[in-house]
């Protein structure tokens, strides 16, 4: 097993003890709650007369079902309204702060935590959502959990867990122009596969991550789960501390130096032992685009889709299944992939840097007449910042709709959905069958700038040719 990694240090600090089954009782330092996976958990507490054990470590927001066209209440969708009311009642009854739209701080749960300064190095974080791995960007262990586990964390502040193995993924060198964190993680998943991370925590390290912004690190850690790893993290450094400083829940000034002193003990040591180490070269990474139905089915944008005769056995079967759903032609050029819908948003790429990158491509341009596009900022603070910078105007002038904050077409629990077999260029994280709301809908994952470029052309474009 790994030793002296950040994973080990944080795990040990939160390990309450070993249970009779041999599992560990792990204390959760930050519990983030949203409307979809919590109602049954709160009901379970009510039925058994339990309270929230650590209400001051528990925070809620709403994101999945929020309509992004209008926030007017009651929501047009009665199920969404009911779910929202349940969240309001539950957080009220159990004394959990709720960051809903009127607070001006609402957003996708994985954006709200970092924006408020709640997410800090050395914490364990849990949330009833698989992209909780995002918070690993701060050097936390951040676990996506199911509703029964949400119940456990609410009632006891703890989870029963087994220790993971740790794989260090180093990416060294310098990324080429126009190669973004999204491309880095799509590349890693392409190389290690969607099952490669089963049983592992991913530690992202090397020059590329040392140089990367916090927003970029969040994009990468976010998609750890797409690579099969339940958690991913980056060791905290000056970039991390700088991001946290001054935020609402950041350690106040008189605690700051002490906090820093502790945080600096957390990164994996020089003598750390890993269960596995993988090294990639930044120069090998190009802008990426997925063509299939798993996030590993991707190619560099200047390549061709795989031919069926290049694969055999299970791989061939999965290609056949992907092509049957995607209605694409094996061997065709990635830049010829058609696009009818463009979605910019999600907890992967709904941050201000993402909107800036997309706006830079769209400025003074129009999207293709046959493309419908929506921009959904990940949170209200991002939305406000973007409007201050005039990005909303750029998007609207180009023909995009400018929306309220939420998950939106990342998973289509609100009215934003693909229709029929529409094919979307999406800055989100999952291209699973049916993910964007239509059972026959098709999704191409790429960076926000590439989504913008595809929207203009009506097909996938190599961003390097546009921005050069």
């Amino acid at each position: 097993m790994a030793e002296n990694t950040l994973y080990n240090k944080v795990w040990n600090a939160h390990n309450v003890g070993t249970l009779p089954t041999g599992q560990n009782q792990i204390l959760i330092g930050l519990h983030l709650v949203h409307e979809v996976t919590s109602p049954q958990a709160f009901d379970a507490l009510r039925e058994t007369g339990l309270k929230v054990a650590f209400p001051d470590r528990t925070f809620a927001t709403c994101d999945h079902i929020i309509p992004t066209a209008s926030l007017e209440r009651p929501f047009a969708d009665s199920q969404a309204e009911q779910m929202m009311e349940a969240l309001e009642k539950n957080t009220e009854d159990f004394g959990v702060p709720l960051y809903d739209p009127p607070t001006g701080k609402q957003g996708i749960v994985h954006m709200v935590g970092p924006e408020l300064g709640l997410t800090q190095p050395g914490m364990t974080v849990a949330c009833g959502d698989s992209h909780t791995s995002t918070h690993g960007a701060f050097g936390t262990l951040a676990f996506g959990i199911g509703t029964s586990q949400v119940r456990d964390v609410l009632a006891t502040g703890c989870l029963t867990m087994d220790e993971l193995k740790v794989r260090r993924i180093e990416v060294n060198g310098t990324l080429a122009d126009e190669v973004t964190p999204k491309d880095v993680i799509l590349y890693i998943i392409n190389r290690l596969g969607v099952r490669g991370g089963l049983g592992y925590a991913y530690e992202y390290a090397g020059e590329v991550f040392d140089e990367m912004t916090m927003e970029g690190r969040m994009t990468v850690c976010n998609m750890s789960i797409e690579g099969g790893a339940r958690i991913g993290y980056v060791n905290p450094d000056e970039t991390t501390y700088e991001y946290i400083k001054g935020r609402e829940y950041a350690p106040p000034e008189d605690e700051w130096e002490k906090a820093l002193a502790w945080w600096k003990t957390l990164p994996s040591g020089e003598d750390a032992v890993y269960d596995d180490v993988v090294v990639f070269n930044a120069a090998d990474i190009s802008p990426m685009v997925t063509w299939g139905i798993t996030p590993a089915q991707s190619v560099a944008v200047d390549e061709n889709l795989p031919r069926l005769d290049e694969a055999e056995g299970d791989l061939k079967k999965s290609y056949e299944e992907a092509y049957a759903h995607m209605k694409l032609t094996p061997g065709q050029k990635a830049v010829d992939l058609p696009v009818q819908v463009a979605f910019i948003g999600s907890c992967t790429n709904g941050r201000i840097s993402d909107l800036r990158a997309a706006a830079r491509v769209l400025k003074g341009k129009k999207i293709h007449p046959s493309v419908r596009g929506i921009v959904v900022p990940g949170s209200i603070p991002v939305r406000i910042q973007a409007m201050k910078e005039g990005l909303d105007r750029i998007f609207e002038d180009a023909g995009f709709e400018w929306r309220q904050a939420g998950c939106s077409m990342c998973l289509a629990m609100n009215p934003d959905k693909l229709q029929g077999d529409e094919i979307s260029a999406s800055s989100s994280n999952r291209n699973f069958i049916g993910r964007q709301g239509s059972p026959t809908g098709r999704t191409l994952l790429m960076s926000p700038a590439m989504v913008a470029a595809a929207a203009i052309a009506g097909h996938v474009q190599d961003i390097r040719e546009i921005n050069s």
Binding site: T21, Q25, D152, R195
Partner: protein, 204 residues
């Protein structure tokens, strides 16, 4: 051992072949808008079982002879993707008590354990053999024995893998972990007090 103890399970099987079957496929997101799990049993694999007009498609979960199946036999990375517990809830409430797979996604396996659904893995070769046997004979009885860590069917026995702690939790009936964790809340509070970020960083 208590009344939640799960040691031996018997039943017939249904195989859902394919790798990387994600939880969006097991239960599409629109069914997550319900605030209870009560009706989840109606939805497993919904979009693969029904056309948009409501017609039945050809799917193992629609086959009349599979309606009483309680063993689901799956392939690699079953349950990947979203953490929605609605996925194991949907399978469980439809009637699945055991998942046999080549491999299981982490969060999905944990969610299964939390609701007392026995999810275990077997070698690809064994899974293929069991899938074939089950496909050939819908009345074939399978037995999972968590004590001996074996699955038997058609006169053959296969070894299973399951993390020892999960196996114990099922066998000892402690998979519903709230009570256990509650009984140790004082210990959790002690751990919390020692954590720098919970005590104004005074414990350094």
């Amino acid at each position: 051992m208590n009344d939640k103890s799960i040691t031996t399970l018997k039943g017939t099987g249904v195989s859902v072949p394919g790798n990387d079957i994600d939880t969006d496929r097991i239960i599409p997101a629109r069914f997550l808008k319900e605030i209870t799990f009560a009706r989840m049993g109606e939805y497993p694999f919904f979009d693969e079982r029904f056309t948009q007009e409501g017609g039945k498609k050809d799917h193992p979960f629609n086959a009349p002879e599979r309606q009483n199946a309680s063993f689901l036999i799956a392939n690699d990375n079953f349950g990947c993707g979203s953490s929605r517990e609605h996925a194991p809830q949907a399978l469980f409430r439809w009637g699945i008590k055991v998942v046999l797979a080549e491999s299981l996604a982490e969060i999905f396996a944990g969610n299964c354990a939390m609701i007392g659904l026995a999810a275990v893995t077997l070698s690809p070769g064994d899974i293929h053999e069991i899938q074939k046997a089950v496909d050939d004979d819908s009345s074939l009885e399978l037995t999972l024995d968590l004590k001996t860590k074996k699955v038997s069917c058609g006169g053959r026995e296969y070894g299973i893998e399951i993390p020892e702690s999960r196996r114990k939790a099922l066998v000892e009936g402690t998979w519903d972990s709230t009570a256990l964790l509650l009984s140790r809340l004082d210990k959790a509070r002690a751990t919390a007090e020692a954590l720098p970020y919970m005590n104004q960083f005074n414990s350094l």
